[in-house]
Symmetry: C2
Subunit: 332 residues, 2 copies
Amino acid sequence: MEIKRNYLLFLGDAPDQLAAKTAQGIAQWRPEWCVGQLRLPNCNADLGLPDVTLEAGREAGAKTLILGVANRGGVINAEWQALLIRAIDLGYDLASGLHNKLTDLPDVVAAAEAHGAQLADVRHPTEDYPVANGVKRTGKRLLTVGTDCSVGKMYTTLALHREMVARGMKATFRATGQTGIFIAGAGLSVDAVVADFIAGAIEVLTPNNDADHWDLVEGQGSLFHASYAGVTIGLIHGAQPDALVLCTEPGRAHMRGLPSYQLPDLKTCLDRNLEAARLTNPAVRAVGVAMNTKSLSPEAAADAKKAAEDLLGLPAVDPLKDGVGPIVDRLW
Amino acid sequence: MEIKRNYLLFLGDAPDQLAAKTAQGIAQWRPEWCVGQLRLPNCNADLGLPDVTLEAGREAGAKTLILGVANRGGVINAEWQALLIRAIDLGYDLASGLHNKLTDLPDVVAAAEAHGAQLADVRHPTEDYPVANGVKRTGKRLLTVGTDCSVGKMYTTLALHREMVARGMKATFRATGQTGIFIAGAGLSVDAVVADFIAGAIEVLTPNNDADHWDLVEGQGSLFHASYAGVTIGLIHGAQPDALVLCTEPGRAHMRGLPSYQLPDLKTCLDRNLEAARLTNPAVRAVGVAMNTKSLSPEAAADAKKAAEDLLGLPAVDPLKDGVGPIVDRLW
């Protein structure tokens, strides 16, 4: 699934900034692709981009209207539908990160067919993926893994990509979730793939490549998350990673969404991820720790990074505050 | 998904016995539910059941026509469709283990709607499952895990169920694959569930129960299978097993479908399964090894079982040849 650029970001009637989280990720990582934001009168989110009409967006070069927002009540209402159809009439493709599908809206589908517009529901894979074959591929792969969900795996992967590109290394960001897909312009939502094909889908996403090329694969979930470990291990096996970066956020009281589950310690967590990864790539090694220290004081953050470095013998950085240079230094 | 009993087993034009593997499993484990088999003239499979017409099947009490056969070329042809519609006219429900869906055949769907017949495509879950919550449930659960796919996990689970029922223990067989679903009359194909909901689906399949009741959960895949480990770990986490039985088949040259992958040793395999299971049930313990020794001489089989017992400190049995008494003896 390829999303045409540039983008106009539709924020709808987002009740708060959090509801526009996906659009915010796009604006943060790909500002050069975003011609502006389109907000309805009662929208409470703001990405700091120019407010642009559908018409002005087209004139500014936008080819895709991105629905990067959570909609109220899980329903795409009549007002939104009228706007989407007008966008199609003006020549836009539509790409949505909503649970509800654009392709379930008959009037929108009819308009898209009439204009040859693409409707991309990026949470819902449409391709049929193969069963993984486990055959070793050419090129190198780095995967971010985590102690928990939402600890910064996408952010870390993008920061690594930016640093490697700046150093002139060959690298591609491989997106496995909705926000990442908009940022990459392609990818697949691995958590929506049918269980038998998780690893196979990731093999397709990260194909043979040049010997000195790195695929930087966005991780998902955690081996220690009682809801999502199936996604995580399939992702590990399919990616055949040469390098792992362990992502964590100190200070969480429990695993996300699971009040009775504690977070794993970093050593156990890294060991299990390496164990799992060795099945399809016995040469895998850990290259660093990415720590989201937003909830810590500067002193506590320094202590936490130092403790992780001493425990694991790896560089530990907060990608947002420190950059990821020490991790990229260890790649080959 | 509940399948009404009794069954008439449709073998179609199965080219050989292997193509009728699903029907054979039903006939083997639930002969009392099978009023007979229905074969087309060029069918080369035979379950040893009486050959019965659709009409005679109904008179004998059949309520569901089971398509327990692989169809040639992956297409349900016109001849089959005519027969299926005639079955619906006679009052049958249809239940299919095919990849192709009955619900994709408009004429069959129309007939089913007209007669109020159920169409069950057991490979394709229709229910929406929740994300797993990881909350401990009442009752006890045993899960079969394996070194590889197709090493006898379903067979072992059914043998345990039979033995426990014979001893007057409270036990339910919980099916996670198509053949198991027909044998249980209910269940879900876990490998066809969307990745995010693997563990959640298994939580639904094995709900709260009496304190002295055992759910016997049919395992799938292997943590050491590069294609399917996502299914396996989600199943482990969702089942929250109190007891694991390790299933294996000595003598395999490589993992099923993966020529470059060796089988794990029994100790490593069991340790990893216990590690994974401890996440949602820290009290999990291994209770036995089920070994399919069909490819071994009696001496070699005895040696292999003895070696496994010495290595793991658990009873090792071939369920088909020895029964599973020594494993059930260890349950509580």
